[in-house]
Structures are given as C-alpha cells and as structure tokens.
C-alpha cells in the first residue's frame, strides 16, 4: 500500500484522570471514505480535535501527507489541507450563506490591507473571482438560490450543506465530517450522501467521517475503524464490521447484562 494521507499513530488523550483515547492507531489512504464509528463517548470527536489541533494529544503522533502535524495550531492545519465540520452545526449566525462560504476562502484572497484600502485591481479581482467560485460551490450543493439568506434561517439539512461547503472552500485534501447525517430525515440523508460522493470526486478529496447511522456508513465508507472506550477494536469494511463479535458486543453489550 502507498503511503497513507493521514496516519494516527498510538495517540493517547487524557483529560485529567479520564482517558478519552487510548493508544489509537489507524491510517486513511488517499481517496477513500473512511468511517470512525463507536458508541457515545468512545472518543470519536476527541480524535477530530486532535487532528485539527484543538487538543494536543498526551502521547503519540499524527502524520498528514508525510508531515507530522501533532500539536500544530488549528489555522495552520487548515493551511496544510485539513478541513472539518461539527456535530452541532457552527455557522456564523446572521451572516448570509454566501458570506459563510466566503470566509472559507479567506486565505485564498491574496490581497493585503494596503491593496484593500486603496482598492487596487488585485482587491477587486479577488473579490469578484472568489465570489464567483463561492457561488459555483453553492451550486454544487444545490443551495445557490439561498446565497443571500441569513444562514440560521435555513432548514437543518441545508445548514449542514452550508457547513460542508464552507469547509470545502478552504481547499482541503482531507475533509473531516462529524456526524454529517445527524438530525436528518432519510431523504435528506440520501441527498447528502449523493453530494458527499460528488464533491469527493470533483474536489479530489479524502474523507474521514464520524457517524452513528449504520445504513449511511454502509452506503458511504470504503473502510472503517470501530472505537470503544478510546480503543480501536475493529478495522475493515462495513460489511465485515456488522458481523464482528467484538463490535456487536461493544454496541449491544449493555443488553446482554440487562
């Protein structure tokens, strides 16, 4: 196998006495959709926070695209090519849908304070070009008609799309999606999985996603890791996961003891 685009090596994350992640390792290959599943509190979101630099792992290292990124600041991690969305949608309220996506392009608008103040050609050029690109991106998500709407006025499903579009705007190689289908009805979920496949192809993305909805995971993921109490208990295809004894115990264990 070629060198993975992301490899999490022996990462441990402790919060005081609580071990959220315990010597976790997994590797994501370029171009795949990789799932991270597990019961609540298994440490899934924590590992996202480790990768994006919000938390520095207690032990272990994270390598992205051949470079160690352990402890790199969040805004630098984005520059290297990792973007994420949140479990609870975090849009910039009362800013328009278009503005929310434009923020994602911040570092690709190459003009300086000076050029902005004197409104030099580069300022106008970037403002115009980036706006056009942002509109194309919204088109891709099927929400271009909502560009001028206040972000919070959108339906839950559409807010999720804006959040993913905003992440894609930062031009990532790796996109981290934290429960993208949470709170969606089956038809919205269906719609979303089509869009995710499409943007993966159009923007040449690798995707790492956290999800609870097994049908969605089955539908989306090439491979997955199952986490339980911060430990990796399974790596393989979704089809193998649902018949694996350890995985079944992790999910249904409490019923056995009941």
């Amino acid at each position: 196998m070629s060198q993975p685009i992301l490899s999490v090596e022996n990462v441990t994350m402790r919060f005081g006495g609580v071990t959220a992640i315990d010597h976790l390792s997994f590797a994501v290959q370029k171009g795949e959709i990789y799932g991270l599943i597990g019961p609540n509190g298994a440490g899934k979101t924590t590992i996202f926070n480790n990768i994006t630099g919000n938390y520095i792992p207690t032990e272990g290292r994270i390598v992205f695209d051949g470079k160690e990124i352990t402890g790199t600041k969040p805004n630098k991690v984005v520059d290297l090519g990792i973007a994420r969305t949140f479990q609870n949608i975090r849009l910039f309220k009362s800013m328009s849908v278009l503005e929310n996506v434009l923020i994602g392009y911040h570092n690709r608008m190459h003009y300086t304070y000076f050029e902005a103040i004197f409104r030099l050609p580069r300022y106008w050029g970037y403002e115009k070009r980036i706006k056009a690109r942002a509109m194309e991106l919204l088109e891709e998500f099927g929400i271009a008609d909502l560009a001028d709407t206040e972000a919070t006025a959108l339906s839950y499903g559409n807010q999720r799309k804006v959040e993913i579009a905003r992440a894609v705007a930062t031009d990532p190689k790796l996109l981290l999606l934290d429960e993208p289908a949470a709170g969606m009805n089956p038809s919205e979920t269906e719609d979303l999985s089509i869009i995710i496949h499409k943007i993966k192809k159009d923007f040449d993305l690798t995707i790492l996603l956290i999800e609870h909805d097994m049908k969605f995971v089955n539908n989306m993921c090439d491979r997955l890791t199952v986490l339980d109490y911060g430990e990796n208990i399974f790596v393989g295809t979704p089809a193998d996961a649902i018949v694996d004894e350890k995985v079944i115990t992790a999910y249904l264990g409490e019923f056995k003891h009941a």
Partner: protein, 297 residues
Amino acid sequence: MDFTTFLQQMINGFSLGSMYALIAIGYTMVYGVLRLINFAHGDIMMVGAFLVYLAHAAGLSFPAAVLVGVLGAILVGVLTDKVAYKPLREAPKISLLITAIGISFFLENLFNVLFGGVPRAFPAPDYLTQVIHIGKLYLPTTALVIPVVTLLILAGVLWVLYRTKYGMAIRALAFDIPTVKLMGINADGIISLVFALGSALAAVGGIFYAISYPSIDPLMGIIVGLKAFAAAVLGGIGSVTGAVLGGFILGFTEILVVAAFPDLGGYKDAFAFFFLILVLLFRPTGIMGEDLERGRF
C-alpha cells in the same frame, strides 16, 4: 433660543458627537469580538493626543505629528492586547475586565510620571482654529472639519467591515473564535486589527478633542472615555452603527441641554449619564442592540 443660536448649537453638537462616535467605535468593536469592555480605550485616546503634542514639540509639522500620534496609539493599543489581554483569552471575562482597568490606571499614571499632570496647551494650527462668519453664525474651522473627517472615517470603517475579507473575519469572530481558526484564519491577527482600528479612531477622536478644548493632560481620557462608552451602550454595544448613533445622540443632548438651561452647565456630564440610564430603562440592549447571543456589527 432663536434659530441662529439653535443652528450654532446643532453644529457644536455635531462636532462633539463626532468625537464620541469615533471613540465609541473602538469600545463596541472590541466588545463585539472579545466580549471585553476595554476600559483602557479612553486612555489610548489620551496617548494619541499626547504623542501629537510631543512630536510637535520635537519639531515635526502638525500633519506629521498627527501621523505619529495615530501610529503611536495603534502601537500602544495592539501591544496592550498582546501583552495584557491575549494571555487571558481562555480566562473568565471578569479577569479580562479587571486587567483592562489596570491598564487604564497604568497608562494614566505612566504619563503623569513622565510628563506631569499640569494641562498643556495643544498646538492646534491656525488653519484649524480660525473662525469663519456665515451670516450670524460664528464657526471655528474645526466645526466643519471634524464632522466631515468623521463621516469619511465612518464610511471607511463600514466599508472594511462589510466589503473586505478582513471585515468578514472580524464579524465572524464575534460569533465563534475557534471556528474562525478552522477556516485557516489567524484569529489573533484579526483581533490585533480590531485593536489597531479602534486605537486609530480613538487617537483621531482625541486629537479633535484636544483641538476643540485646546489643552491636554494625562487624565483627559477618563471622562471622555466614559462618555464614549456610554454612547456605545446607548447605541447597543457590539453594533458599529449603534455606536455612531449613540455618539451623536449624546453629543447633541449634551450641547442642547446646556444651551437650553445655561444655569445647569456644570451638570452636563451628569445629563449624559442620566440620559443613558433613561434609555436603558426602556431598551436594555441599547438602540441598535440585539440579544447578546446573536450577531454583532
């Protein structure tokens, strides 16, 4: 009060309101981004005016001295954030507030120790202090220059906020700092920009103030700063347009009250705060303010 007097007072109110508005913008922008009432902001205004005085005393021409004053105020404002506020980003907001009060005392006393507390005459050039007669109106040049410059600056600030990527980042910071970082944006750089912008405007406000009441001293920022803060709250803290509106309302009220009741002139500062209390009784979020968890600017 006849019409000429009224017009005369309105023009004075416009000038005074301009100064309050310029200083209030700094309060409101820092609050919008950091949820901090930057009590040192009034002193930044003093620093700006003082540096103009010092640069001029050192032999620079007035315009060059103004440049020194504005750049110096920006430097002090940004440094204050880097040294005193940045280490407290994750700390409770009350620690930040107390630190701001500390910085305010520090700047006042530093200038007191270095330059003494005796008021000094501000070196306003003749072309700004000349008096023009238009009919029965009696106008210092500043009464025209101050509002015009203020309106130009305000247009510039609104343009930066709503038409550039920097402004968009500032507005986004008001909602969610960690998410802004995840857009690849250097949030601390944008916060520095907010302090730089606010300090520059405060310095301009301070210079106008020093020209109009032609003396400066290390404590001049206290009462003007407090009134500009009142203006920001009146307009709805966090809202830039609100701060401008609050500044002008406060300026007009103060001037008109004194004009209408000359005997009460000594209480003009009290009127400003009385008016603030009155507005807040009926509209606790200020004129343009929305509920605190929603967007700003």
